[in-house]
């Protein structure tokens, strides 16, 4: 078995993947991962045998990532504010002028098996990484860090209205991306 420091270091790429996805900033991600590795190496005794090394490191990373988000505060939720990011993705959906569905949403079936496949995880992560930066950060604070909406507002000094608008857009964009890149292909031809 390789020495502990080599084992820890071998997970660097894996940790970077999630740090990048959550922080959407290369320098912040590098810092969070370095701090994670240092913390792990400085207290190997707190790595209990019950958890796997990777799982333990992910746990530390989450704390470092929350510190980074807190530290960068306002910057975290300021998007590029491009025109495209301001669009409500609901307007892309097939609604008639009276607000009713012009075409019913497609049937995604019941792909329980597919939804834990590695291919699906790769598509899901690609879709999440394509969200506008601020939307992606807030979305992953909900879905990866599992923070409540209240806590996110508190950490970032964000109004709940602002948070809900961003999460609304993020979720609908993700839905659209998965529909195009996953469900459209597995759906039987019409």
């Amino acid at each position: 078995m390789p020495p502990f420091d080599q084992q820890v270091a071998s997970h660097r790429d894996y940790l970077m993947r999630f740090a990048r996805l959550q922080l959407r900033n290369e320098a912040w991600a590098e810092d969070a991962v370095s701090e994670t590795l240092l913390a792990a190496l400085s207290k190997p005794q707190s790595f209990g045998s019950r958890s796997q090394l990777k799982t333990w490191l992910v746990g530390i990373l989450k704390h470092k990532v929350i510190d980074a988000l807190r530290h960068h505060g306002r910057e975290v939720c300021v998007g590029g504010d491009s025109q495209d990011e301001q669009v409500d993705p609901l307007d892309h959906m097939a609604f008639a002028p009276d607000g009713h569905f012009a075409t019913a949403p497609s049937d995604w079936g019941n792909p329980e098996q597919d939804l834990s496949s590695r291919q699906f995880m790769a598509v899901l992560e690609a879709c999440a990484s394509q969200l506008p930066a601020s939307q992606g950060r807030l979305f992953l604070m909900r879905e990866w860090l599992e923070l409540s909406s209240e806590d996110i507002c508190k950490e970032l000094g964000l109004t709940s209205t602002n948070l809900y608008v961003q999460l609304h857009r993020a979720r609908l964009r993700l839905r659209e991306c998965l529909e195009l890149n996953w469900f459209a292909e597995s759906r039987p031809a019409r």
């Binding site: 894996y14 992910v58 609604f95 569905f101 939804l115 609304h168 839905r175 998965l178």
Partner: protein, 71 residues
């Protein structure tokens, strides 16, 4: 005063179904949602998509947090 204060369009209902992932809906909206879902053919499909997404994120979280030894 609107004649049907509980009447919602599919677009409004879609927004509620998305919002429900991040916040508790006010009681009036919950009732309005339920009424609409009982009468609409299309919105239950959208709801199933939203629930599928919720499930997918749960699977992903498990995969990301407790990855086993795939590498």
């Amino acid at each position: 005063m609107m004649p049907f204060p509980l009447k919602r369009t599919c677009k409004e209902v879609s927004a509620l179904l998305i919002a429900r992932e991040d916040r508790e809906l006010p009681p009036v909206e919950r009732v309005a949602l339920r009424l609409h879902m009982a009468m609409c053919q299309a919105c239950p499909r959208f709801e199933r998509q939203v629930l599928t997404l919720r499930n997918a994120m749960k699977n992903w979280r498990q995969y990301a947090n407790d990855p086993g030894d795939e590498r």
